[in-house]
């Protein structure tokens, strides 16, 4: 196992300039300075609600967006410094599975065409070898090879998502970014896809960056989790520990809000207020207007840093909250 983490993100920031009706020109701080680390073979979950920036992180890591500031290091090398040739090669190593299987496939292309695309571009495969590789990939995702000739609208949601996974692993990537891969699927299909993803990770030696708003799914797939709110990471650590003993007030409320399939649930604290707009972020900690454990004016003025909390039993836990000030050395 390499010492260098597969993916490391430092101070990653993405601001969008937008024209907001009321404010004229404004800045949307989608991602506001985050640090993440992913080791080879791990699966890190990124959770949050709308506006948290998790989807933007996915697009920054895969190169679909360019960061406004900060660094992304893949196997130790910064991505920004790479020339276009190296960046193209990076496309083999980092791939993505998108949220909505129904719009992830070109409706006018056959399944064969969609899976073959990365192969034709990068490996310049054609003819017999191309067909053989596509069939191999379909088999990897447990779909009959005759699906090659079908169009997306003839497939179910689960089948489409498998095709997207086949397309994503076509070039044998090292890192797979999954952006809500099962949110659009029925529960019974989701279960199959999740189990399949777990098994695929072992088989193909993949590393996952798994984005989801569904905490239970993340618990199931990811060994580590980072909770995001308004473009910042507010808590991170081993999934089981973070979910069983959350530290950050937002994490606590988030966990309590998840409706569980058990009868007669006790009245959990419900978070008041609305999810704020990432355009007009309040100063200080972004969570302070809604925080039930707000301390005082420090929360309104100072944005807390993400600091390590001493070792959890299976890994480092971090939290960004004034309730847990940075340990003085």
């Amino acid at each position: 196992m390499a010492d260098v983490p597969l993916l490391q993100v430092k101070g990653l920031t993405k601001h969008f300039d937008i024209h907001s009706g009321r404010f004229g020109k404004a800045v949307l701080k989608a991602v506001d300075g985050i640090d993440l680390m992913l080791d080879h073979g791990e699966s890190l979950g990124l959770v949050g609600e709308s506006g948290s920036g998790k989807s933007t992180v996915a697009r920054l890591v895969t190169g679909l967006h360019r960061p406004t500031a900060g660094e992304i290091l893949f196997e130790g090398s910064p991505i920004q410094a790479m020339g276009s040739r190296d960046r193209r090669r990076l496309g083999r190593d980092i791939q993505m599975v998108f949220q909505d299987p129904h719009s992830s496939l070109n409706p006018r292309k056959t399944i064969f065409g969609s899976i073959a695309e990365p192969l034709t571009i990068h490996d310049a495969l054609r003819g017999v070898r191309l067909r053989a590789r596509v069939e191999e990939l379909l088999e990897t995702v447990q779909l009959d090879r005759r699906f090659m000739y079908r169009f997306p609208h003839e497939l179910s949601g689960g089948q489409k998502q498998r095709v997207c996974i086949a397309r994503a692993v076509a070039l044998n990537p090292k890192l797979l970014v999954l952006d809500e891969p099962t949110s659009a699927l029925d529960v019974s299909v989701q279960a199959q896809i999740l189990e399949f993803l777990r098994e695929l990770q072992d088989r193909l030696d993949l590393t996952y960056l798994f984005i989801s708003h569904n905490l239970a799914v993340v618990r199931h797939v990811c060994s580590r989790v980072a909770v995001m709110y308004m473009g910042r990471v507010v808590e991170a650590g081993p999934t089981a520990e973070v979910f069983d003993q959350p530290n950050h007030p937002y994490t606590k409320v988030l966990l309590a809000s998840v409706p569980e399939p058990i009868a007669g649930q006790q009245e959990a604290p419900v978070l008041g207020g609305d999810v704020p707009s990432p355009i007009a972020l309040p100063p200080g900690c972004p969570f302070n207007p809604r925080c039930p454990s707000k301390i005082g004016s420090v929360c309104e003025t100072l944005n807390p840093e993400l600091v390590p909390l001493g070792n959890g039993t299976t890994g480092v836990r971090q939290v960004a909250c004034h309730l847990f000030p940075a340990q003085l050395r």
Binding site: F98, E136, Y149
Partner: protein, 308 residues
């Protein structure tokens, strides 16, 4: 990982037949056809267009008086009413109107195809480019398009013809020059909405170049609205050319263009009614046919617009 080779014949071709491999496309075409067929007005349109196409193909061989198409003069037969010898009567120089009408069909088809063809070839790439690139590219293209669109097409065409000189060729040139902006608008907005689709992002991630994305992903998904507009435009182009012909700026005698025929035939109303009426009917039925067909196509491709 399974490394067994798939079932390929020695020639390397897959084991399924062409039919099996394209079963999905065939099925889709069949579905389109069945949907189209159930729409009565669309079928009427299809029949009219089919007749139009057929006549334009075979007219030189079926016309009763071929010489009349190029302006032979028989003053003895001038302005005869419809009869067995001349089904649609004769004009003021004795030419059989049916003959001229049929030859005019061919001319109308040429007009329609050239104008619509040029408009799509110019307008569609510009529209895709504008929609996809955004920024200055889009600004420039869209503003130029806006300038063209803000002047009534026919007026602009008249101005161009006036500059270039009268005649059917210049009329076609003028109309081609004013027709393309509509396609830019249509395709630009469709491209804008397609740009954000997940499969376009996936293509970018797969390393696709911009050209590949435009040809392979954007363009095929724009085809339906383009096809619908093009079929309607065929009729409208004929109408526009006829309008130019009507005011004397398009085809000149003896060219048997329908609009030009009405232009002269107008002077012989109401006594010698057949002269203006039959070319008028021809224009009406042809344009109607294309419009109904276009409507039918739109209903087939975009079921949501179907009123229920």
């Amino acid at each position: 990982m399974n490394t067994a080779l798939p079932e390929l014949s020695d020639t390397g071709r897959p084991s399924e037949s062409w039919r099996e491999r394209h079963a999905s496309s065939i099925r889709q075409m069949r579905l389109y056809w069945h949907t189209y067929r159930r729409n009565a007005s669309a079928m009427v349109g299809l029949v009219l267009v089919a007749i139009f196409l057929l006549l334009s193909l075979i007219s030189p061989w079926i016309v009763p008086y071929p010489a009349d198409a190029t302006g032979a003069v028989h003053m003895a037969d001038k302005l005869l009413p419809p009869s067995a010898a001349h089904w649609f009567g004769t004009d003021e120089v004795g030419n059989d109107i049916l003959t001229r009408l049929l030859i005019g069909t061919r001319l109308s088809l040429e007009i329609a195809v050239i104008i619509t063809g040029v408009a799509t070839i110019v307008g569609v790439p510009l529209g895709i480019l504008a929609g996809f690139r955004g920024g200055w590219t889009r600004e420039i293209i869209m503003r130029v398009t806006d300038v063209f669109l803000s002047v009534p097409a026919l007026v602009l065409a008249i101005a161009i013809v006036a500059a270039l000189g009268i005649g059917i060729v210049n009329a076609i040139i003028a109309l081609s020059l004013v027709w393309w902006p509509g396609y830019v608008r249509l395709v630009e907005s469709k491209t804008l909405s397609l740009k954000g689709e997940a499969y376009v992002e996936a293509a970018r991630l797969a390393g696709a170049s911009t050209a590949r994305i435009l040809f392979s992903h954007i363009l095929p998904n724009c085809l339906s609205p383009i096809l619908v507009k093009a079929s309607m435009d065929m009729g409208m182009a004929i109408l526009a050319a006829a309008s130019l012909g009507f005011i004397g700026l398009g085809a000149q005698p003896p060219t048997p263009e329908w609009g030009a025929m009405i232009s002269i035939g107008r002077n012989y109303l109401p006594t010698w009614w057949w002269y203006a009426t039959f070319p008028g009917l021809a224009i009406y039925l042809t344009v109607l046919g294309f419009n109904l067909m276009g409507d039918g196509l739109r209903d087939v491709f975009d079921p949501k617009s179907r009123g229920r």
